[in-house]
Symmetry: C2
Subunit: 157 residues, 2 copies
């Protein structure tokens, strides 16, 4: 069905496609010394195996009215399965929450919020995050400047 082990060619494909998701199979083949068809089936397999989740255009939120990025640490009231899953379901549904992780340590969830400005953040915090179920405590931290934001994992193997 699918090949689990990854070889050097797959690594080359993954590294290249992470940097340019629109590179042609032919061009990939010429740098990796494989035929276009060989590249094609490998890319398909990488997608079916879930190594490539999707192809996406990476946009600049600053230029699209989502320039304020905040990270929010969340502590919930009780750590029952119902409460945790209820929180997670609601978090997934909110457009302003770009990322949500269940964390180890001093807090339970870490959220990445993207909004236009502090006015909107204030509204989101009160009207939306405030209504998330079972929350005991929020603490917000804001991004002043983005030093690095890399989507491409450098794969060496």
């Amino acid at each position: 069905m699918k090949k689990t082990p990854i070889d050097k060619t797959d690594i080359g494909i993954l590294n290249a496609l992470q940097l340019n998701g629109r590179i042609s199979n032919r061009q990939l083949g010429s740098t990796l010394h494989k035929s276009e068809s060989a590249i094609k089936v490998r890319v398909q397999h990488l997608q079916e195996a879930g190594l490539i989740k999707r192809f996406a255009a990476i946009v600049e939120p600053k230029l699209l009215g989502r320039g304020l990025i905040g990270y929010v640490q969340v502590i919930v009231e009780r750590h029952t399965e119902q409460d945790l899953t209820a929180f997670m379901e609601k978090a997934k549904a909110l457009d302003e929450i770009m990322e949500c992780y269940h964390m180890t340590g001093a807090f339970d969830f870490l959220l990445r919020i993207a909004v236009a400005d502090m006015d909107e953040y204030s509204k989101v915090l009160m009207k939306k995050l405030g209504n998330l179920p079972g929350v005991r405590h929020f603490e917000s931290f804001f991004v002043m400047s983005e030093v690095k934001n890399e989507t491409a994992y450098s794969i060496g193997e």
Copy 2:
């Protein structure tokens, strides 16, 4: 030179390309009621204007030996420009640091680290993060499970 205002067609293009970066111009045109050529020049303009930063394959780090994600809060010794820029330059150069933000509030930088496992994290912390210049304090938090990780900003205008 370039068109700053974004219209409804651009919004449609951006929303679609964020979800599928490999959708064809022709297909985009048919849903947005424009010709293939019109879509093509708009996508070019969106790239030149920096609204689209790049196209990328989004991969699954768990399947690529980068399954442990940690967030690290960093407090630096002094907030001089030299110290801050020195830290940022070094952070940018480290492959394990996928994201680095200069933050407001109780700590100075937030790092997203992707490594294979706790053994590797321990080494990275001591050998690499420990050598970042001017650091006073680290605090690490780890992702137990990823509830949501969205790269597509929903653009409404």
